[in-house]
Amino acid sequence: MEEQDKILHEVTSQEYKYGFTTDLEMDTIPKGLNEDVIRMISAKKEEPEFMLQFRLDAYRKWLKMPMPEWAYLKIPPIDFQDIIYYAAPKKKAEYESLDEVDPELLETFNKLGIPLEEQKVLAGVAVDAVIDSVSVKTTFKETLAEKGIIFCSFSEAVQEHPDLVKKYIGMAVPVADNFFAALNSAVFSDGSFCFIPKGVKCPMELSTYFRINAAGTGQFERTLIIAEDESYVSYLEGCTAPMRDENQLHAAVVEIIALDRAEVKYSTVQNWYPGDKQGKGGVYNFVTKRGICRGESSKISWTQVETGSAITWKYPSCILMGDNSVGEFNSVAVTNNFQQADTGTKMIHIGKNTKSTIISKGISAGKSDNSYRGLVKVLPGAVNSRNFSQCDSLLLGSTCGAHTFPYVEVGNKSSIVEHEATTSKIGEDQIFYCNQRGISTEDAIGMIVNGYAKEVLNKLPMEFAVEAQKLLQISLEGSVG
């Protein structure tokens, strides 16, 4: 077993190291979106008929939907006909060597402790060989297969496990749930699929780095996680390195289904390119993440550390259907410079004795705007339900904004909903205090911010937490003083 752990460890670091492949032979279809394009996408992926119908249904509904405008965000107009919707090949390497890359970016890589080879890939420098150890991967896959766990790309799942996909896709996020989810449902390129059978506790953290046969992160990703009765899985998405991506618009969908007494932990570190210090460029991240606790006493927890993207629109939510089911949302969202984030959660209590906890820690710096938006809805039948929400905002400097939009609807008298909110500011006094004890301003900010976000960081798997701590510090560099 130890040997196996070692191999697994190696493959994780390697997969991470060379995670971005460049396939220049990939074919493309013209820009724009219509039914023919969707048929073409489905045909190229050799999908069964139900997938095509799913996509077309979504597309037809999407056509009638307006772009949502309720968020506290300034979203520049997006031309949806100016996007290539099928597997646009990644651009050729932009640089010949690291010397040509923005030194500031390299500095960040060094601070995160990213190895040189990986820096090249992330920065878009030509890399000669992509090391890909098939045998080690197989070992990993075998370990999971022994337990009956399926972990593969979404495309593969559509081919290999169409019944599971058909049964569960759209269960947590219906095709017409919202504008971006509908768009994703129509055109999604690929993503991850994860199935944990009854009674199985997944022995390792499943990370997208492990994902087999899936290259990079798509513009329209789709993830489906199914946890059968009494199963458990911890799933990690993302990476702490700043990701260069030529796609400006990202609209992902993540669905989680937890059956009786199943537990799913979903952790994200999102660090897409946030744009430059003047607010130019950067990724627009419009994500729909939702889990259904379908079974009794099931549990879904979302933990997210959001530091990237120019615009973040994201509300990982839980529908607590089963009696005694539990939902959790733990979030740290950082905005700096001209970033905008409108993020939060929805907790929908349907079953009896359902519980939810929301801990949101917003950190704003520069000229950014950071909003928490949350809905706690307790239906009449959800008797004896409980929610506790804590929404804190930390401001660095005086040119940024923090906003809180809590919505609470309670439909019965036996449930209790609590909401606490605070706003505080990192003081120059705190930083000076640290300086006077020999701690540099940079380290001081890191320490103060991590102290503030500790409750959430503690929920992350250990290794992820350490990286996330560094990331918080780096994201806020130069924002005080």
């Binding site: 120059e428 006094d429 000076f432 640290c434 300086n435 004890r437 020999g438 701690i439 320490m447 102290g451």
Partner: protein
């Protein structure tokens, strides 16, 4: 140790320090007294590198170096310690982590290896015993929810951990009851040695009954207007600051 020549500083066009001179040699204890608004805290802040002061002028030499050339954290690592009048709270950061980072920064500066967790805890235990502190403070977040007395004791504890060359204690006695005052004073006295100097900034003579100064200076309107031995403190206590004010006019 420390030589200050003609030190000036203002805040928003208001001159606070107006040509202050002071010479502190190794092993000496200096008390700086003065009425409110005379510039006592500004002196501590300017020496330790707090920003927000304008028109800094004059010369300050600390251990042979121009103090103004050093960033605040480097002054600290060279051995300048400020015991804050109002120690700030840093929620969520355990005191023990904060101190460990601090101690190890100091060690790194001296070219020493960082202390291991167990070495660090041992050092902490020793210093706590020396100062007769209860062990609860270090488990809590930095100064968070500490009483006034606990905050001041915590300052002295940090001083003991960092073993500075020059400690500037800014009104460390304010808001302390007599027992806390004794603990603080005992701490300062226990750390006294021929290599180490202390500047005690205080409004009242009370603390000086426990920390006996070699020199007492009276700061008034941004200048040291009178210096003497410990008996000057008693005279001030008796006559009040009005006496100095009149003399200065």
């Amino acid at each position: 140790m420390l030589t200050i020549k003609n030190l000036k500083a203002s805040v928003e066009d208001k001159e606070i320090l107006r040509g202050l001179n002071l010479d502190v040699k190794a092993g000496e204890v200096h008390a700086i007294m003065g009425p409110n608004g005379s510039g006592k805290s500004t002196l501590g802040n300017v020496l330790s590198g707090k920003e927000g002061y304008d028109d800094l002028d004059g010369e300050v030499e600390f251990l042979g170096e121009d103090l103004f050339e050093l960033a605040a954290e480097d002054r600290a690592k060279k051995g300048l310690f400020l015991g804050f009048q109002y120690p700030v709270e840093i929620p969520g950061v355990p005191m023990v982590n904060f101190l460990k980072a601090s101690v190890n920064e100091h060690r790194k500066f001296k070219g020493l290896e960082p202390l291991s967790a167990s070495e660090f805890l041992k050092l902490m235990r020793e210093k706590k015993e020396m100062l007769h502190l209860d062990s609860q403070l270090t488990n809590r977040s930095v100064n968070e929810g500490f009483s006034g007395g606990e905050k001041k004791k915590n300052e002295i504890f940090q001083m003991a951990m960092l073993e500075p060359k020059l400690a500037i204690l800014d009104e460390t006695d304010s808001g302390l009851d007599i027992d806390a005052l004794k603990i603080v004073a005992d701490g300062v006295n226990a750390l006294k040695n021929p290599e180490r100097s202390t500047i005690v900034i205080t409004h009242y003579q009370r603390l000086l009954e426990y920390i006996v100064p070699d020199f007492v200076h009276v700061l008034y309107q941004g200048q040291i207007v009178k210096s003497g031995g410990k008996e000057l403190a008693l005279e001030l206590e008796e006559k009040g600051y009005d006496w100095i004010k009149k003399e200065t006019v």
